[in-house]
């Protein structure tokens, strides 16, 4: 038996889904802002569209991911592989929740601030 089981590694990588999506969302919003404002490639409305689309998409994926995790049957026995899997399962879910909050916080200023206005100082 010299090959690792695929499932445990997948469990581990699932931890990164939430935070990874949060980071991608931030990168898209910041990148879009940078391209829209210097040099001005598009109008301010584009920013609102991109930000809304990215936010809805990411929150949607997070919600589906969270729902999938919640729907998985909780492991019944206390053997090693199952306590570890249950732990990773719960951790991935909590990370997804925190990431969703982060995504909402990141996106909300789009509603309040004009796109390319430099800071008043």
């Amino acid at each position: 038996m010299s090959t690792p089981r695929a499932r445990p590694l997948a469990d581990l990588l699932r931890l990164f889904v939430g935070p990874g999506l949060w980071f991608a969302h931030l990168a898209v919003l910041y990148g879009a802002e940078a391209l829209i404002c210097t040099p001005p490639l598009a109008s301010g409305r584009a920013m609102t569209w991109i930000a809304s689309a990215a936010t809805i998409l990411v929150l949607g994926v997070l919600a589906l991911f969270g729902a999938a995790l919640v729907r998985q049957p909780p492991p019944a026995d206390r053997s090693e592989e199952h306590t570890a899997a249950a732990f990773l399962h719960a951790t991935a879910l909590l990370l997804a929740v925190l990431s969703a909050l982060g995504v909402v916080w990141t996106a909300s200023p789009v509603a309040l601030l004009p796109v390319c206005a430099s800071p008043a100082g």
Binding site: M1, S2, T3, P4, R5, P8, L9, D11, L12, L15, F16, P19, G20, W22, F23, L26, L29, Y30, E33, A34, L35, C37, T38, P39, M47, S79, E80, E81, T83, A84, A85, A86, F87, L88, A90, T91, L94, L95, L98, S99, L101, G102, W105, T106, S108, P109, V110, L112, L113, P114, V115, C116, A117, S118, P119, A120, G121
Partner: protein
């Protein structure tokens, strides 16, 4: 699968009495070199000791620099230090503290503690840790020494261009920073590779991820963060050094460069850096609090979540160091939001510790005092962090003493106090005598009072308008009283450190074999009977707090009833286990003492430092010798496969594994992640400079004809193909040997040819790297490619030698696997570079 794992983790201990000579053989394999030859030791306990000692030395040195700064600032218009001296001193204080103390000390605690905590005998790559330590120590000493020759950098620890370009910093100081720190970071990355594989692959059987000590979790995340954060500053360092040495204008605005590019790259590293420093300290607190409260850690799951969240969120904050640079307000607010988000995981950790204290009965001891001090100071610092995360407030506080106060509260509170708690807590595991409780309490109160007296007033002086990095200030500003108070506090704090040193001299008696032991009744494995080889036998772990929940475990382990009670192959060994469930997978043979790591480290340091002072020929010589030392070391690696080994409990595992289960494969994959992060930073820089200076970007007709990059790409792909074909001729035999050599040679020619063609294409088109920022970026892609190609040339020669010596075949193939991983990555990186450089400008 369940059956097999239950059979594997069979809980019947080994039979007693153990065979004669088993313990003696184990001790002989792990025997330490005597006398001065201890410098050739590679095991984690000795290297860990050296490492912690070196880091503390740099702490003291940088602390003395701080005292000098405080003396200069104690009164207005002081003439104790000239402006230039002060500027060098504050630059060195920050640089030494951040790069030579903060990250190395937590890494050092990992090297010292982690294997014992995980039930492993050593780290998976002992000679790599030795190399990393000596490179850091020698490089660090030389770097610090520049102060005595008036050659120290004076551009601030974050070295912003254009101030640090050749025009405004003409001396060698900036080059020492760039080359010195750049190379010390490589040492940190080596350590990170070590820790990731150590945490994920060498845990004791049964120690599943959710039973792992919290300190191990933090080291895993710490190492992962290093992998993705350090490459950004390594790239920045390369860019600035190339600008200084060869005139490639990355940061010179008149030629299309941008000063902010440095800031983005530096802070993309710089912000995760401070969490890199904080997380292991938090991990140490998570180990100390349960022991002192005499109850298991409450909120283990929540803390694990918090740690991972912190690790990720910290990568999304970096622009908060640039709130005053005129970036649009909306962009700033994204990073303000992320900066708030990172406060949440810290809150979870703080209240988890409070919950643990509430669940138990806190014992009053020096470690407890330092933990309480940490909680107060770190929380205060975190709150001023929330303040500066608010953009308008930061517009006032940025670059003032308010920020100086903030970051000292979080760094000293968040790392130094837990570190001192850790010294007092873990000393009994490594010393024949514990440190003194009486002196420890005095140390604590002096440090706590001194720290607050020194740094709290800085919040006020900052808000009263005192900027950072000023060597003096006029009396009329009325900052004198606050500064004097800060100076007094600094000396109080130093007095506390002095008492600590007295305590260490009087009481610390380092030992690898007979520590005073578990005086605190701690639950984790480093408190078992311990020797230089860790436990006599690697215990089967069934809980998060093994020494509390599995009575008699230490005695059973000592009697040899668990895994690996001796040495199966006669050399040093530890167990390779699966990453999540810690099921034994293989026996890992480890090297003993040797001189090649320290030699290679000194010679590598020599290469970088001689290059800095422009002694090119001696530098190259040193470099060649360093590579030679490394090749000798590598030649002694990859021991031949032996029969399956019985590791105890009636279980047999392979002694040689290759492919994705091999620890060496994992190390190479992590290295590729580092290289990938470096290249992505480059790609970001290329695209970023285009947004700033599109006017220096070429029109499609100015680019080399497309046939050139297509040919380059074809050559690169061919070289990958040749390397892949080698896997078909791995079985031994003369014909296969010949084919092996031919294929490797062809692959090399194609690889080098692909790179040469790319450089030639641009040169022929008239592009010169010092012309403007775009040209510099184009040649930078080739420079990054060249670094890997040179490494592959050496590795290919090595692989051929292994093959011809009969040391590489179908079974014994790890060396080839590593070569092929790096090779395919290099080809992919090269192709991406071609796409970017030739494809992007054609999009217009």
């Amino acid at each position: 699968m369940t059956d097999t794992s239950q059979r594997r983790l069979a809980s019947h201990p080994n039979k007693l009495p153990r065979p004669k000579g088993e313990l003696e053989a184990l001790e002989a394999a792990w025997e330490l070199p005597k006398g001065w030859r201890i410098l050739s030791a590679v095991n984690n306990t000795v290297i860990g000791y050296f490492y912690v000692g070196a880091a503390v030395l740099f702490f003291l040195l940088a602390g003395i620099l701080a005292l000098l700064m405080r003396l200069q600032l104690a009164v207005p218009s002081n003439t104790f230090l000239s402006a230039e001296t002060y500027n060098q001193i504050f630059t060195m204080h920050g640089t030494v503290m951040m790069f030579l103390f903060a990250v190395p000390v937590v890494e050092a605690m990992g090297v010292l503690l982690l294997p014992q905590m995980l039930g492993a005998r050593d780290l998976p790559f002992p000679r790599l840790s030795a190399f990393a330590f000596w490179a850091y120590f020698v490089g660090g000493l030389i770097f610090f020494g520049t102060l005595f020759f008036d050659l120290a950098p004076s551009g601030g620890w974050f070295m912003y261009p254009p101030l640090t370009g050749t025009q405004y910093s003409p001396g060698l100081g900036a080059d020492f920073w760039l080359l010195g720190i750049g190379f010390i970071e490589i040492s940190a990355i080596a350590g990170a590779i070590e820790l990731i594989i150590g945490v994920l692959r060498t845990r004791a059987p049964g120690m599943t991820l959710d039973r792992m000590p919290m300190f191990a979790w933090t080291l895993l995340i710490f190492a992962g963060m290093i992998v993705f954060a350090f490459p950004a500053v390594i790239l920045a360092t390369m860019l600035l050094e190339l600008e200084r040495a060869l005139g490639w204008p990355f940061f010179i605005p008149q030629k299309g460069g941008d000063a902010l590019l440095w800031q983005h790259l530096f802070w993309f590293f710089g912000h995760p850096e401070v969490y890199i420093i904080f997380l292991p300290a938090a991990g140490m607190v998570s180990m100390i609090v349960p022991t002192m409260a005499r109850t298991p850690l409450v909120g283990y799951r929540l803390i694990a979540v918090a740690l991972i969240a912190t690790g990720f969120f910290s990568f999304g904050l970096w622009v908060h160091h640039m709130f005053t640079t005129g970036i649009p307000a909306l962009s700033l607010s994204f990073f303000s939001a992320a900066s708030m988000a990172v406060a949440l995981p810290s809150g979870i950790q703080v209240f988890s510790w409070i919950a643990t204290i509430a669940a138990g009965r806190l014992r009053w001891s020096t470690p407890s005092l330092f933990v309480l001090g940490f909680l107060f100071i770190f929380t205060l610092g975190g709150l001023t962090g929330v303040m500066v995360a608010m953009v308008p407030f930061d517009w006032q506080a940025h670059d003032t003493y308010f920020v100086v106060a903030h970051f000292h509260y979080v760094l000293v509170g968040g790392m130094v106090f837990p570190l001192f708690a850790a010294f007092y807590y873990w000393a009994p595991a490594f010393s024949r005598r514990a440190l003194s409780e009486r002196l420890g309490k005095i140390t604590f109160w002096l440090m706590f009072a001194g720290f607050n007296v020194a740094f709290f007033p800085m919040h006020i002086s900052g808000l009263m308008g005192m900027p950072r990095r000023v060597y003096t200030y006029p009396a009329v500003m009325e900052w004198g009283v606050l500064n004097m108070i800060s100076t007094i506090g600094a000396f109080l704090f130093a007095a506390g450190v002095l008492i600590f040193l007295v305590d260490v001299v009087r009481n610390l008696r380092p030992t690898v074999s007979q520590p005073i032991g578990n005086i605190w009744n701690g639950p984790s494995l480093e408190w078992m009977h311990n020797h230089v080889y860790g436990p006599r036998s690697v215990p089967l772990v069934e809980s998060r707090d093994p020494l509390w929940d599995q009575p008699g475990l230490s005695e059973e382990s000592k009697a040899g009833r668990h895994y690996l009670p001796g040495t199966v192959t006669g050399v040093r060994e530890t167990m390779l286990t699966s990453p999540i469930e810690a099921i034994p997978e293989a026996l890992l043979r480890l090297p003993g003492a040797g001189w090649t790591p320290i030699l290679a480290a000194v010679l590598t340091a020599g290469f970088f430092m001689l290059l800095t002072v422009k002694a090119t020929v001696p530098a190259l010589l040193s470099g060649v010798l360093a590579v030679t030392a490394i090749l000798i070391w590598m030649w002694e690696s990859d021991p031949r496969p032996l029969a399956r080994a019985e590791i105890g409990h009636g279980i047999k595992v392979p002694t040689y594994v290759s492919g994705p289960i091999s620890h060496s494969w994992w190390a190479m994959v992590v290295l590729l992640l580092v290289a990938g992060a470096l290249y992505l930073s480059y790609a970001f820089s290329y695209l970023y400079l285009w947004t700033v200076s599109p006017q220096v970007w070429p029109r499609p007709e100015q680019l080399p004809p497309i046939v050139w990059p297509l040919m380059s790409a074809a050559l690169l792909a061919a070289s990958s193909g040749f390397i892949f074909l080698i896997s078909r001729v791995l079985p031994g035999g003369f014909r296969n040997n010949a084919a092996f050599v031919v294929l490797t040679a062809l692959a090399l020619i194609a690889l080098v040819g692909g790179l040469g063609m790319e450089i030639l294409a641009h040169w022929r088109a008239g592009l010169r790297p010092d012309a403007d920022a775009h040209a510099a970026m184009v040649y930078m892609a080739s420079f990054l490619q060249l670094d890997l190609v040179l490494a592959l040339v050496v590795m290919a020669a090595f692989v051929i030698a292994r093959r011809l010596a009969g040391l590489l075949n179908r079974r014994r193939r790890v060396v080839y696997d590593n070569l092929s991983l790096l090779w395919h990555y290099t080809v992919a990186q090269g192709l991406l570079g071609l796409l970017l450089v030739h494809g992007f400008p054609r999009l217009q």
